[in-house]
Assembly symmetry: C2
Homo-oligomer: 424 residues x 2
Amino acid sequence: MVHLVRLLQHRRTPPRPDHAEAAGGPVTWLDIPAGSPFGPDSLPLGVFRLGDEEPRVGAAIGDQVIDLAPVASAQMLDGSQLFARPSLNDFLALGRPAWRATREWLLDLVRNENDRDVVEPHLIPRSAVTMQLPFEVGDYVDFYASEHHATNLGRLFRPDSEPLLPNWKHLPVGYHGRAGTIVASGTDIVRPSGQRKPPDAAAPVFGPSQRLDVEVELGYVVGTPSTLGRPVPVEDFRDHVYGVVIVNDWSARDIQAWEYVPLGPFLGKSFATSISPWVVSLDALDAAAVPLPPQDPPVLPYLAGEHLPNYDITFEVLLNGHRVSSPQYQETYWSPAQMLAHLTVNGASIRTGDLYASGTISGPEPDQRGSFIELTWGGREPLVLDGKERTFLEDGDVLTITAWANTPTGRLGLGEVTGRIVPA
Amino acid sequence: MVHLVRLLQHRRTPPRPDHAEAAGGPVTWLDIPAGSPFGPDSLPLGVFRLGDEEPRVGAAIGDQVIDLAPVASAQMLDGSQLFARPSLNDFLALGRPAWRATREWLLDLVRNENDRDVVEPHLIPRSAVTMQLPFEVGDYVDFYASEHHATNLGRLFRPDSEPLLPNWKHLPVGYHGRAGTIVASGTDIVRPSGQRKPPDAAAPVFGPSQRLDVEVELGYVVGTPSTLGRPVPVEDFRDHVYGVVIVNDWSARDIQAWEYVPLGPFLGKSFATSISPWVVSLDALDAAAVPLPPQDPPVLPYLAGEHLPNYDITFEVLLNGHRVSSPQYQETYWSPAQMLAHLTVNGASIRTGDLYASGTISGPEPDQRGSFIELTWGGREPLVLDGKERTFLEDGDVLTITAWANTPTGRLGLGEVTGRIVPA
């Protein structure tokens, strides 16, 4: 592990400053199709399977995957075996110096014509591989960090009360989700069954959910662990978090509404959560950094910080290919550094592979809402698609979420997460 | 893996019926001190560390640990390497035939004088070993299955409403806890800090919890996994669950009260959950089986079943050596088979090492309550110990929970879980 860092760091002196590539526009010897999410600045990592071969780590560029283990091996990097594994966890555990060194190495590979001979034999078309879950998930925490989403849900679930609860602007509200049912993009989603209580019924009934929904979220992937009993301050965010994925936190609203008081969402969420296959590093995402929106009232000192991270990211929600919404991440109230500081302030430790997500991202405009319960206002205001009224998800629906980070020099893709609804 | 089962099954024909040993009273060639929780019927498994040696699997009997890997190896069992590992997970994944075969083998070892020569060299005093976390935890779910506890908490947290919420008797209410902060018995518990809002304050304050509490629970350990999208019916409980541990779900009531609406407990619980080191198999616990208390109203069909499992278990809560409470598990409203059926009815899958716990066990009597918030009625009715008034946990306190299963022929111990509070 140490060798990977050391060798990579010795390849170039001094190391290239972050994002120097954005200034003059990147160049690469690879052909990158117009509109590809994965240009030469992105270089996200994922785990791919090619035919019957063992799953292993690749980097995406354009329409191709760089098979990293043989390339690293050909260049005699000691850490090359890390890329031959079926998850990113061992790489994620290395920490920030190794993450940066790896990014430098990848940037060199795709820029330097000299590296073409060693890389080209290990390029595989993305269409030829099946993407796997990129990492083994430790704990999964879901936050509730979008003010518009929390306000909308408050109005829908608790119509007789103040929509935003008294704690909401003092702490990033969150809860633990089910880590064992986080699935790779493309996994079919079986419509969940469960208890729901129709408003006019005396007792609950059992059956397939009638209000199956999505939640558009950004997920943060933890690399290096922390120690039990020691909080992670906001300024240590980048030492622990490697990067981001797109999260679709599928939700059964009717199951959730009946079960969630007083201990929170459980079966309404735990049947499946899909994540995008390519993990985009914070170092790549830095090009899309923007200031955090103002917070009022002021937060307690453990949540305060200068330059709290936030990112300008545009999501798109596609139902059977039709765009139904474009949530904007940059309006999210809480910074991911605050989420991590809050999550650990009681001494809770984090592990490699932990995932924490923003919660549904919704903007002020109706077409910026990140769930169908909001888009159709509880199912009462259907959308019209292809001349047909639509509220919640139907069997056979394919739901895809894409995301693009907006940078001063262009866009940087996060890829997509997709899933098809199959009958209960 | 298969070999372990096959070889063990061929050691005796026909296999001994379960619990034949209870009828005539067990015999063993080992000396078992009077009052030991681990008689010759119990034979719980755990992971121990002896000095600098690698942690590995042992069985407890009396004051001793049987070091299983060398014993299995000496008897030329193919599966012996399973016991040389630092967690029970690979053993747990084998499934019920292997679990039963292993129990038969262990019963033989401690009964047959013939086995004395092979076992005796591998007996280690329990006082000489340090017990580890017995398994790697997948997902952790905490239920809320005791009616008295739910009623008490309802009265304390929501004094102006009906204490038992409308869903409580229709489904086992539960939520996901933090798996990564489940710790071995004996681990010091750092007092958590966090936000709390005093009733008369305009805004929350930050600091160490002033209402640190315990929750006395029984935890069920999942052995064999299930498939995503396929519920586990109540009758398959014993195919998936290997056994039980004692759980102390430490709770910071002031943090919990401020944060928990609407998404449930989070930092008020996630700082630590302690479990007992010895996993007692359901096959051993069967001797303490009792009928489930009546359920009214009738449950939905997916929760219904004949002979739903329940166990007669007496817990004791010791604060600095003083007994403060004796919760009785057998009064718990929901069966563990119902909890598992509910947890998976939406298609959520389970994994080897998943832990689900009963929630706080409280009985109808004041001295049967399983938490200090109940024992002291929100801190308003202190206990008197050693002439001193006590409400919540103080720095330096040592809290120990023991449990004994009551069988027709005596008691069978589950051991204990303990922890000391250290300052924030």
